[in-house]
Symmetry: C2
Subunit: 361 residues, 2 copies
DNA sequence: CTGAAAGCGCTTACAG
DNA sequence: CTGAAAGCGCTTACAG
């Protein structure tokens, strides 16, 4: 039977409808169908009658009414800045993990896409009105004092730039990841290693820079400020930053390896190098950070520092639900959770030409 | 002041709290703060007092209670199958458009990630319980008879495989897009054009095949069934399908061009060709379908048939909201909306070697 | 084993 | 201009 406009407007059946159809009270129906914590037990025959009526009427518990009583929407919110232009693989991998974990706990996920973190204080509050039970902030940049999060909603952050009071933060060991990658480059024989990274205001960027410098120092290679370049975290900016650098260093020595602060930036590098006719890894090695899907679909494939983004998203859901429903275990007392990073070596990273070519320097 | 466990558990202020604080009734507060359709007007002084009290208490209207009365959650659902392994760029671009349009209409978006469309009938119904006002189905494969959508929830589909009664479908002119791409390949001089596409059960796949055959016929090139290959819509399957074909056709003529049914499949092709040391476009040209982000980050960049996925997602939101709130304009009587496709030419598609090399064939 | 009552927080008529 | 009443659909004590 085709759905007509008329049936489309039909109201959904309520417990009252079911009770009437089965000849019982609303709450007998409630007890049987939605089986709350009430101790009341209904006779088997009655119960069957109620279930049959519910099935016949296509009864479905009204989420709003249920939420009003139980103060639980079974929905978690995810807020982040999703720039319009470029798909953000970093976010998408985190989101994937959130989605999977939420589904496993029978929770829905609603996305709050902010244009800009400056509007977050105003908008975030408006979302915390009962439509979600808790919220995950992905990459919030604000300082604790700048923003007051609604007190009645639990929050968890991922890669918060500053610790938010009362909000557990999930991060990864970026310093160690950066250090390992640069160390590996040094072991391959690279000496002029550029670090093309994100904005310096970002705490993650500063950690990566520390790791970079640490690895250089440990190998006795002097840090050259000229090889440390900042860009925004996207490929367009990455491309432009490298172009500009190449232009302003015309005729001088190229970096042997470019260690990028994100895979997106690394994509931009690959493009900029390709424009100049420079081959990767033959002329220059390139490495990224994050190990998103992007790293696997470039040619050559991109070496990267893997952050377990999907797992981090999943963990955020677990921690949030523990706060929302602190039944069994109390929420852990720690303020932040650090996931390990991991080196993923791929074709874009190889020894410098002089180590490969027996005729070379 | 740091959020402590105690404040975190504090209940949100209600209209009753605000009214009490301002010395007015609940509904005076309601009228001033949430300003419904009621004609009642409150004196300026009272109004200010109420607003001040609301601000002081950090009042926020409870979404569940509001939804219970108004039967509107201001949330739209998006359901699709999001395979765990690989990020699905097709979906993500559609989703991007949905998110933007929803935000513009002050609607939230909640994602229902199905593992499998076979579970859709059961799960979809459970979501239509008032937590969303309507739902967008992205790529539903089922036949009308197989599934009964909840009658009290409006639906819109994108790329439905079969028309769903009472559900407006948004699609793109895939046949024409495929035809144009193959025609362009033929004009470049290609004759052995492989079509490596999705599963034949998919109506979009059949349309692309029709376009492919149509272009061949128009150019007087005989259709060779050996050059029509099906795979699943992801790069892993695309790679394996092309590998298998190359293995089983060892020593025989390669295709001059491979027209893929999606960018994801094309990525797999690029990998498979690269494994064999075949260069794109020098040895083989490759084209994709969808023009997702993936097409722009391969090396070489991928020619593709652009579907305006983001715009299609946005349109789905508009159509859904028109059904949810049919105030001014009645929903258009059409059953489906077809967006135009567009050829996007990039470096992966070039004339065959014999047309470029003056010494060749 | 089953039902009448009260309430979750809000809004919409309807009286004053 | 302002408030008392009824109800949205459900659940949780509490009586029978």
């Amino acid at each position: 039977m085709p759905r007509t406009r008329k049936t489309a407007l039909r109201r959904a059946a309520t417990l009252a409808d079911v009770g009437r159809a089965a000849g019982v009270s609303v709450m007998a129906a409630s007890a049987v169908i939605n089986g709350g914590r009430t101790s009341s037990r209904i006779a088997a025959a009655t119960s069957e009658r109620i279930l049959a009526a519910a099935a016949r009427l296509g009864y479905r518990r009204n989420a709003a009414a249920h939420a009003l009583v139980n103060r639980r929407m079974h929905t978690i919110g995810v807020a982040s800045v999703l720039a319009g232009g470029e798909l953000n693989h970093y976010f998408l991998e985190v989101f994937n993990g959130i989605l999977a974990a939420a589904a496993q706990h029978e929770q829905n996920t609603t996305v709050f896409s902010l244009h800009d973190w400056t509007e977050a204080p105003r908008r975030l509050g408006r979302f915390c009105d009962g439509r979600i039970d808790g919220m995950i902030l992905v990459g919030p940049p604000f300082r604790a004092g700048k923003v007051t999060l609604p007190a009645h909603t639990p929050f968890v952050s991922i890669h918060a730039n500053h610790p938010l009071p009362g909000v557990m933060n999930i991060e990864s060991d970026e310093e160690r990841g950066a250090c390992q990658m640069v160390k590996h480059g040094l072991e391959l024989g690279h000496r002029r290693i550029m670090h093309l990274t994100g904005p310096r205001s970002d705490v993650g960027v500063r950690r990566r820079i520390r790791g970079y410098k640490h690895a250089l120092a440990a190998a006795g290679v002097r840090f050259d400020p000229d090889l440390l370049v900042s860009a925004q975290y996207n490929s367009e900016e990455g491309r432009q930053a490298l172009r500009a650098w190449l232009d302003s260093h015309h005729g001088r020595a190229l970096p042997q390896m470019i260690f990028c602060g994100s895979d997106a930036i690394a994509l931009g590098c690959l493009e900029a190098l390709s424009e100049r006719g420079l081959r990767v890894p033959d002329d220059v090695s390139v490495a990224g950070f994050d190990d998103t899907l992007a790293a696997r679909i470039t040619m050559p494939q991109l070496a990267s520092v893997r952050q377990p983004l999907s797992a981090m998203g999943g963990k955020a859901v677990d921690l949030l639900l523990a706060q929302i429903e602190p039944r069994a275990a109390p929420p852990p007392p720690v303020k932040s959770l650090v996931f390990p990073t991991e080196l993923v070596l791929r074709a874009s990273l190889a020894p410098p030409p002089d180590r490969r070519d027996p005729l070379g320097g």
